[in-house]
Amino acid sequence: MSETIKKFMYLNRRAPYGTIYAWESLEVVLIGAAFDQDVSLAFIGDGVYQLLEGQDTSESGMKNFSTTYKALGDYDVTKLYVEKESLEERGLTLDDLMPLTWEDEDDDWAEKDSIRLVSRDELADVLDDQDIVYSF
């Protein structure tokens, strides 16, 4: 265990593909997973679009990185906060998002949801509790 354990928050507020922020943010998360910090991701505003199910970039020639979200559990990145109000404003529900899960080693490898649906107020408390916020 490293000397310092900090609460790391990756704050995602952008849609995927129109800009590279979502994808290069994920690259930081993947590298960061090796550092044994207390990691959370938040998806608010257009950031919730990153998690939409069924992304297919074959006709646009962009790189499809959406499967990477499904791999986050294997990297022990298991806290993905999704803001309820952002979904609603966009006419979306949890059913529109990719199912993202992780296996809990301490609970007989039970499969658990990585996505935590929270209200803006609840998420404000989570953000308030962080040590450091990476914004993308």
Binding site: Y17, G18, T19, I20, S60, G61, M62, K63
Partner: protein, 130 residues
């Protein structure tokens, strides 16, 4: 029909250059002419030959070079914008005392007048940006 295309953003950060490329390709496939692609603002960064994108991703710069070669496209990088951002050809290298050049195949550096001329001579100008 005679098109001109303006690209305002560099490779990878924004989809603008991807969209411009797909539009250009579709226009050429449909038998239209593209009299010029003008790279302005950060768009000049599409003209560097120093990128090495991951193997599983598209190569944006090479794609432009190849489309340009296949269709004899006039790919123009704005000189004023290029000087601010560090895109350099042989002439610019000598003029500004630089150690290297980095202009990609098929691109040329020229003035803003080329953008105005494109507006005058084309039937449609299509702008792609942030």
């Amino acid at each position: 029909m005679k098109f001109a295309i303006q690209v305002n953003e560099g490779p990878y950060q924004h989809q603008a250059t991807d969209s411009a490329y797909q539009f250009a390709k579709a226009a050429l496939d449909a038998g239209h002419e593209i009299m010029r692609v003008f790279f302005y603002h950060d768009g000049v960064n599409n003209g560097t030959n120093l990128t090495t994108p991951p193997q599983d991703d598209r190569n944006i710069v090479n794609r432009w070079s190849e489309l340009g070669k296949a269709h004899d496209l006039d790919l123009v990088v704005c000189v004023a914008a290029a000087q601010r951002r560090g895109i350099v050809d042989e002439g610019e290298m000598q003029r500004n005392g630089k150690d290297a050049q980095n202009i990609a195949d098929g691109f040329r550096i020229s003035g803003l007048g080329q953008l105005i001329e494109a507006g005058i001579q084309s039937e449609r100008l299509v702008v792609f940006g942030d």
